[in-house]
């Protein structure tokens, strides 16, 4: 990976491209790279939908190699949802292919002078950008079918649906999986709206004729990868639990722990949680059968295979197996207990190109506002359809929970820096509450997944119901995650990496063997810290202060059943997360 593709969409001229060497960005990948470019090249005070914002798409440092788990694609920009710097990553096939074609990053700049839609084709012969208004307002599924008929069934497609074209703040960027379905999404923060305002409907990546990227030391790399794979298989979470039950295995444990946000964060347990648990979902999928039903990998090189495929009772494909976050957002958070309805909502989100977390939280706020009853799945489907159709109500909902709460006069709006909270109540899982409040990304669970230690006993144990130990926990995980987000690795490697030192070492050995370096774990920590420092500085320049590193007030005032807890980490403690 030795080149950066810059696409200038205008408005001074028609779209144009240059390919350049990596220059000062050498040695960076994934989030490290997207953050470096955005922090350096995007004015922090720009309007996210304006020509000054840039959309950076970057595979990770190990993407396109034979390293297991290396298929994550990072997307970065100034977020139209939060107004902060944003990085969002997804699995699927694009990162591996883009890396093998030699691109460290694609940087999309400017914005077109009119509303012409473009598609970009990247292959071994170069890059072509073509106007194609026949793609206007196509859902991601129809879009992929159309592109497949022209470009074949081996290409990877990075695209937006109608939500991105309509510049909705909950709009995602879709990445196709191994079956060429648009099911993996860079969901959080409205990156789809930035791609939309820059006039790009789809980026088609064809790595035919390309080889795996070659390590500097092939023998050492192979040995490190083998040790890494052994570690992933050995750990029961990545070796057994995730392939059998998927991420939705979390429903029962969060519910048991009393931290499962139900009916718009009003209580910490859902009476019907067992109907939508990972166990029930796996049982249903196994019963219905079909290719890839209960165990399925989202990208080539994944050996965990946490995903699955959801077929309806007649054997028709509906969606990929909905993830825990999606089942929570469209399920318990809305009082909905029907897996079939949740799968339909998931497919609609994927098709329109929307963040399932933001949409589920938004529908929960809409229910609190009285637009629908909690538990009414058909009503939720109707509300989501409004978003896909771009009606005035749909435009409100498609801009997320904060906008919806404002428009309908709702007090209980679960957002930080404008982004909706994911599937863990911060009152009963206080470590994740610290991450939600302080992450540079807004309320974000993957940014520092304290749930692992608060609830799951991974990397030690910290009592989730008390403030003690949460700052250190969140800080360390935020640093480590920023580094992992730069490697192209799926974050689920964290389960074995946190528990098995030899697996963490294998990851470092792979990086060293590939690039001819001598990194230590201290260097990994330093990388994570430098990324967070860059992001914090951008946010400060964008106008953010300590006052925005806070949870909504109701989390400090309203006790959450069953444990009767509030979030009681102090503001002073929150302000100490980045002291190092």
């Amino acid at each position: 990976m030795d080149k950066i593709l810059r696409i200038n969409m205008g408005p001074e001229a028609a779209p144009s491209m240059t390919t350049e060497g990596v220059g000062e960005y050498a040695g960076l990948g994934g989030r490290a790279l997207t953050t470096a470019i955005v922090a350096k090249e995007v004015p922090a005070l720009c309007h996210p939908l304006g020509a000054e914002n840039k959309l950076v798409i970057a595979p990770g440092l190990l993407s396109g190699t034979t390293a297991a788990m290396s298929g994550r694609l990072s997307v970065g920009c100034k977020s139209p949802l939060t107004g902060t710097i944003k990085e969002s990553n997804a699995g699927g096939q694009a990162a591996q292919m883009l890396a093998r074609l030699g691109y460290m990053a694609i940087v999309i700049e400017g914005r077109p002078k009119d509303d012409t839609l473009y598609k970009v084709l990247i292959n071994k012969d170069g890059v072509q950008i073509t106007a194609d208004n026949s793609l206007r307002l196509l859902g991601n599924y129809d879009l992929v079918d159309k592109i497949k008929s022209e470009a074949g069934d081996k290409v990877a497609i990075v695209s937006i649906g109608p939500a991105g074209e309509r510049r909705m703040c909950a709009a995602s960027i879709a990445v196709t999986d191994m079956e060429q379905r648009p099911t993996r999404h860079c969901g959080r923060g409205g990156t789809g709206a930035v791609m939309g305002v820059k006039g790009i409907k789809a980026i088609i990546i064809d790595d035919a004729g390309q080889q795996m990227r070659q390590p500097k030391d092939p023998e050492k790399f192979k040995a490190a990868n083998q040790a890494f794979v052994a570690g992933l298989k050995k750990h029961p979470v990545t070796g057994e639990g995730l392939p059998a039950y998927g991420t939705n295995v979390l429903t029962n444990v969060l519910n048991e722990a009393g931290g499962y946000p139900t009916n718009n964060f009003s209580v910490g347990r859902f009476d019907n949680s067992s109907k939508i648990s990972g166990e029930s979902q796996a049982e249903l999928e196994n019963q219905r059968g079909g290719k890839g039903s209960a165990t399925h990998g989202c990208h080539k090189g994944c050996i965990i295979r946490c995903s699955g495929t959801y077929y309806d009772k007649d054997g028709q494909y509906v969606s990929k197996q909905p993830e825990y976050e999606t089942v929570w957002a469209h399920g318990g958070n809305c009082g909905i207990d029907d897996l079939d309805a949740i799968a339909r909502l998931d497919r609609m989100d994927d098709d329109y190109g929307l963040d399932t977390i933001e949409m589920g939280a938004t529908i929960g706020v809409a229910m609190e506002a009285g637009l629908a009853a909690f538990g009414d799945a058909e009503a939720a489907i109707k509300l989501l359809k409004e978003v896909g159709d771009g009606t005035p109500l749909g435009r409100i909902l498609g801009n997320g929970a904060a906008v919806t709460g404002k428009v309908f006069g709702v007090e209980r709006v679960p957002v930080v820096k404008g982004q909706a909270l994911p599937a863990y109540d911060p009152r009963a899982v206080q470590g994740i509450g610290v991450t939600y409040a302080t992450s540079t990304m807004g309320a974000d669970h993957t940014a520092g997944y304290a749930v692992a230690t608060n609830i799951l006993g991974v990397g030690g144990t910290v009592d989730p119901l008390k403030p003690q130990g949460q700052i250190e926990l969140s800080r360390n995980l935020q640093i480590a995650t920023a580094a992992v987000d730069s490697t192209g690795m799926c974050l689920f490697i964290a389960f074995p990496v946190l528990d098995q030192p030899e697996t963490f070492q294998a990851l470092i050995d792979m990086l060293n063997a590939f690039y001819g370096l001598s990194l230590t774990s201290d260097d990994v920590v330093a990388l994570g810290k430098s990324i967070l420092k860059n992001e914090r500085e951008f946010n400060k320049a964008a106008g953010f202060t300590a006052e925005q590193d806070r949870l909504p007030r109701f989390f400090k005032k309203e006790r959450l059943a069953p444990h009767n807890v509030i979030f009681d980490v102090t503001d002073e403690e929150l302000d100490s997360v980045f002291n190092w």
């Binding site: 990545t238 825990y324 006993g457």
Partner: protein, 78 residues
């Protein structure tokens, strides 16, 4: 002397060990979680998370009448 009964839920790969009387499982007064696991015949190395009334506990914790027990193998997600 009144009997001690508890509610038991076993999850994920432990579902197969659920007894028929999981909603009213009789247990000796003063029994610990360790006793419970032995009586359910679950191999200790399959167990990761033990909850009593929604709070994580250790094997030595004594179980009381009316307690709700939840037991998980190692699991994760995100």
């Amino acid at each position: 002397m009144s009997a001690t009964t508890i509610t038991i839920r076993l999850y994920a790969t432990l579902q197969g060990y659920m007894p028929d009387n999981a909603d009213h499982y009789p247990i000796q007064m003063g029994a610990s979680l360790e006793h419970l696991i032995k009586s359910l015949e679950i191999p200790k190395d399959k167990i990761k998370l033990l909850f009593i009334n929604g709070v994580r506990c250790g094997l030595e914790t004594i179980v009381k009448d009316g307690d709700c027990i939840g037991i998980f193998p190692p699991i994760g997600g995100g």
